[in-house]
């Protein structure tokens, strides 16, 4: 267990984020800050590439660095085919997006330092998610991705829609994250391990456990919210308020795939159970259909891409669900037969990142160069932006599943996977299995239609310059390079898919389906031509019917008017938020009265119930006076003095008397400390008492009228009960604390202070050495309290000034 370079390299984005503001301050606007940031993802990408040869033969690397070893939480990183694919996606797409953003984000107008700090935070968090083997480390990074996504969506925080979108995504994904945490805790309860490796190795223990199903559901909730699966998909379209490089990076290529990653990672744990199969594939296929149908009605290009992302994520998710059936089998042939779906999922994951990334970037270019993303205002850009058109053509044809683009291959595999699953004799698939290919086929038709809308409505038809905010022209070369690289990948992957398959897909498949390794692996060979198969006929049908439907779009699009533009789910969400806010406001107003007295009542009542309750319940009320020292006359005298000054405080006619009596009480207590030979306590008590009295005198003028018409605070029965209760409780507590010995006293340890800490003063040795952590947190609390007082008063002053 030690730190290795790999750990540090994963954390590099975080480390570099610290320097970004400094670089920004030094070099902006001479050099765009993005150029510095670009090094990081490029370096990471090359670094990860070096692992390919080692991992391609199914090896995996587990490195553990101690973090909180005392509770078994270690920063263990696990590198296998699956995490490597994600690592390459994160760093590779990251590099292209950073390059793109250098041209997209103006260095004169934008707060670039914030932008790049958030991006780096995200990158580091995402790498952490995919490389962590420890559940709780994974969880921490997982939430960090939600937070950085929130910050990035709200990057233009002066816009209302941005804030709305950021809040929405945060609420939904953090909700899912917390459910996932609960799922993780359950996993830990079942296996007594935080390591995903070990949990997988104990899957026999898990299968029969009563917490198996709850843990699975909670974990899936996390995955589905993150990956925008129906009905949690509503946050993704609103997240499009983020700058386009962000949409391309987080909300299409990487972050939304964290949910996919989670499902893939836990397939060896949960796969093979009927619930996992149906929930993952069912939700996935519904999302696929919902996303593609809704995408067709969009008029904003980015919203269209958002819904298409939702639908594609649904596609990948459903494939993972269907493929999980393979875990059920032990026979090599059957494993291979159903594993095709999982293979298609990983393949499509990569393809989606390439074509969707390029499409997002093209839409960003269009937005940047024309000032609008509205399909109704765009048109005829073909002659003005030929390069962008080419990229868009490649991207959308690939998304539609046409050759010669990589989307065709994975779409074919998708059909294969779906068709294979219909022959499953288990899970009731023999009865209902046939709906999967049907839904998949319908959804593919809609996918085809929106791809055509995206391409032809924007680039062909008549051009209306007066509808655009700017004069349209081709983007600068730097902005075109990243999408061109992605688009060329789209084509390269079509012609050489087996390169990818051998080095990346196969290792990833082995990581998701351990059964594949046990039975000697499967032959993964992707080819474009399989002969006249059912899949090919399905594709031909999609193209044929899709073209007809696209041509007659105007005739049937009216159906969409039957559904509200906003969508039922969004309305539900908005109302939910409003109701929740008013409900919590009402609730809070009910007990937060703004009066310190009420709060004291709460605090003391709580104390009586908690401390007194546990005293009674745990039989703590035992007294033992045998070892007590005799009480001297001085002590009696001082205690009488304390009682008298206490009574004076309560019955004083003026506040000044009360304050002075309170001071006297404090000083008498410090004399008690002197008698008991605690000079440190006595000294501290003296100074604290002095300072408090001075403070009281300072506030003297500000406090409300002490007495109103000679009636004091007024007598309240509840107050009497509570004050008596506190007095009785503290006394009995102190007495029984002396009489009860639950543990061996630790004072013996403190008595060695001279040997251990070189200090003759035990009190101070405890404060700064033995219990140094307590002291440190105490001074932090002190400081927070001081800053709290400061801000509260300054805020009030500022508000008062504002009103005048």
């Amino acid at each position: 267990m030690s730190w290795s370079w790999f750990h540090i390299i994963i954390l590099i984005p975080f480390i570099f984020a610290i320097f970004v503001p400094i670089l920004y301050k030094q070099f902006n606007p001479r050099i765009h800050t993005g150029w510095f940031v670009l090094f990081i993802p490029v370096f990471l990408f090359i670094y990860f590439l070096r692992f390919i040869p080692k991992l391609s033969n199914g090896e995996s690397i587990l490195l553990t660095a101690p973090w909180i070893p005392s509770v078994g939480i270690n920063f263990s990183t696990y590198l296998d085919g699956l995490s490597l694919i994600f690592g390459l996606l994160i760093s590779g797409v990251g590099a292209l997006v950073v390059l793109y953003s250098i041209y997209y984000m103006s260095k004169d107008r934008e707060a670039l330092h914030n932008f790049y700090v958030y991006i780096l935070l995200f990158m580091g968090a995402m790498l952490g998610v995919v490389f962590s083997d420890n559940l709780f480390v994974l969880y921490v990074f997982w939430e960090l991705t939600s937070i950085s996504s929130f910050l990035l969506i709200a990057y233009w925080y002066e816009r209302k829609r941005s804030r709305y979108g950021a809040q929405k995504s945060m609420l939904i994904t953090i909700f899912g994250g917390l459910s996932m945490l609960a799922g993780f805790v359950m996993l830990w309860m079942m296996t007594d391990s935080f390591s995903i490796r070990e949990i997988i190795s104990q899957r026999d223990v898990l299968a029969g456990h009563s917490l198996f199903l709850p843990a699975m559901l909670l974990l899936l909730l996390g995955a589905f919210t993150k990956s925008a699966q129906f009905p949690f998909s509503i946050w993704l379209p609103d997240a499009m308020e983020a700058p386009t490089p962000i949409s391309a990076y987080l909300h299409s290529a990487t972050m939304v795939k964290a949910g996919i990653y989670l499902v893939a990672r836990f397939t060896p744990v949960f796969g093979g159970s009927v619930e996992w199969f149906w929930i993952v594939s069912g939700i996935g296929i519904i999302t696929l259909l919902y996303g593609s149908i809704t995408a067709v009605r969009q008029i904003d290009l980015k919203a269209l891409l958002a819904y298409s992302t939702i639908s594609q994520l649904g596609l990948i998710m459903s494939l993972l669900g269907l493929g999980s059936a393979s875990v059920y089998y032990v026979n090599q042939e059957e494993i291979a037969f159903y594993a095709v779906a999982v293979l298609a999922a990983i393949f499509h994951l990569i393809n989606h990142a390439t074509f969707k990334g390029s499409l997002f970037m093209v839409v960003g270019i269009i937005d940047h160069e024309t000032g609008t993303r509205n399909i109704r205002r765009l048109g005829g850009l073909l002659s003005l932006m030929p390069i962008s058109f080419t990229i868009a053509l490649i991207g959308s044809f690939s998304m539609a599943g046409l050759p010669p683009f990589n989307g065709f291959l994975s779409k074919e595999m998708f059909f294969t996977g779906v068709l294979n699953s219909t022959s499953l004799p288990i899970y009731g698939m023999d009865k209902f299995g046939v709906i999967f290919p049907i839904i998949a086929w319908i959804a593919s038709i809609f996918t085809f239609i929106y791809c055509m809308i995206l391409l032809f409505k924007t680039f062909t038809g008549r051009h209306y310059p007066e509808r655009l905010e700017k004069e349209a022209h081709e983007a600068p070369i730097g902005m075109l390079i990243p999408p061109v690289i992605m688009a060329s990948l789209v084509i390269i992957l079509f012609f050489f898919p087996n390169l990818l398959s051998e080095y990346l897909l196969q290792p990833a498949l082995m990581a998701i389906l351990p059964g594949v390794v046990e039975t000697g692996g499967i032959d993964v060979h992707i080819s474009a031509w399989h002969g006249w198969t059912t899949e090919l006929f399905m594709t031909l049908g999609v193209v044929g019917i899709g073209t007809i439907m696209y041509m007659t779009l105007g005739k049937w699009k009216g159906i969409y008017r039957l559904f509200s533009q906003e969508g039922r789910l969004n309305i539900l969400y908005d109302q939910g938020i409003i109701n929740l806010e008013s409900f919590s406001q009402n609730l809070t107003n009910r007990y937060m009265t703004g009066s310190v007295r009420t709060y004291l009542v709460y605090i003391f009542t709580f104390m009586i119930l908690m401390v007194g309750g546990s005293l009674v319940l745990l039989n703590g009320l035992t007294y033992d006076f045998t070892n007590d020292a005799p009480i001297t006359i001085y002590e009696i005298g001082i205690v009488v003095g304390i009682i008298i000054s206490g009574v004076i405080v309560v019955f004083a006619k003026s506040r000044l008397t009360a304050i002075i009596a309170l001071g006297a009480l404090g000083y008498l207590v410090s004399i008690l400390f002197v008698l008991f030979r605690a000079p440190d306590l006595a000294l501290t008590q003296l100074v604290v008492e002095t300072a408090t009295v001075a403070l009281f005198l300072l506030c003297f003028y500000h406090l409300p009228e002490f007495k109103k018409k000679g009636k004091g605070v007024g007598f309240k029965f509840t107050n009497l009960v509570i004050s008596l209760g506190v007095g009785v409780l503290v006394t009995t507590f102190a007495l029984s604390a002396d009489g009860t010995r639950l543990f061996e006293p630790i004072s013996g340890f403190f008595e060695q202070s001279y040997e251990l800490a070189g200090a003759k003063n035990i009190v101070n040795a405890i404060l700064v050495d033995f219990r140094g952590f307590d002291t440190m947190l105490e001074i932090v609390v002190l400081m927070i309290a001081a800053l709290g007082v400061y801000t509260l008063i300054k805020l009030r002053l500022a508000r008062r000034d504002g009103e005048e």
């Binding site: 501290t684 100074v687 070189g758 001081a786 007082v789």
Partner: protein, 141 residues
């Protein structure tokens, strides 16, 4: 906080503040073996400052001691944190303290303890927070 020009208070103050400050510093350093320490030493210093605030009005004091006590407190917390992390360099757990005996030119054989540095942080944090509270409350009219 405008206050009558109290001659008596001012005269006593000149001597008293000096004594309190010296005593507080003594308390701070003697904390290792005798009653005292960072907490009480810091409180002593803030008591001296409060006395100044009471004698002169707050503007005069802030003019003559142009220190932002919020920052003093923050620096204190930071010192405590950083000295705690210092133990990482010696492969020890967070906040591990150590001590040793050295022969120094003037003082002779002296015990030096890392706890003192931590204690300095505590003292500064206490001074910073208590004075900040008192300053803001008294500035609020």
């Amino acid at each position: 906080m405008k206050r009558a020009n109290d001659l008596l208070l001012k005269a006593v103050n000149k001597v008293a503040v000096l004594i309190i400050l010296t005593f507080s510093i003594n308390l701070f350093f003697s904390g290792h073996h005798h009653p005292g320490g960072g907490f009480i030493g810091g409180l002593g210093v803030s008591a001296a400052l409060i006395l100044l605030f009471l004698t002169y009005d707050i503007e005069t004091v802030t003019e003559n001691i142009p220190v932002d006590f919020k920052k003093v407190g923050a620096v204190g917390v930071l010192i405590a944190l950083v000295t705690g992390m210092g133990s990482f360099f010696f492969d020890a757990a967070f906040l591990s303290q150590t001590f040793g005996y050295f022969d120094l030119p003037v003082f002779g054989k002296t015990e030096l303890a890392t706890a003192l540095l931590f204690d300095l942080g505590v003292a500064l944090a206490v001074i910073g927070s208590s004075v900040t509270i008192i300053q803001t409350i008294s500035e609020d009219e």
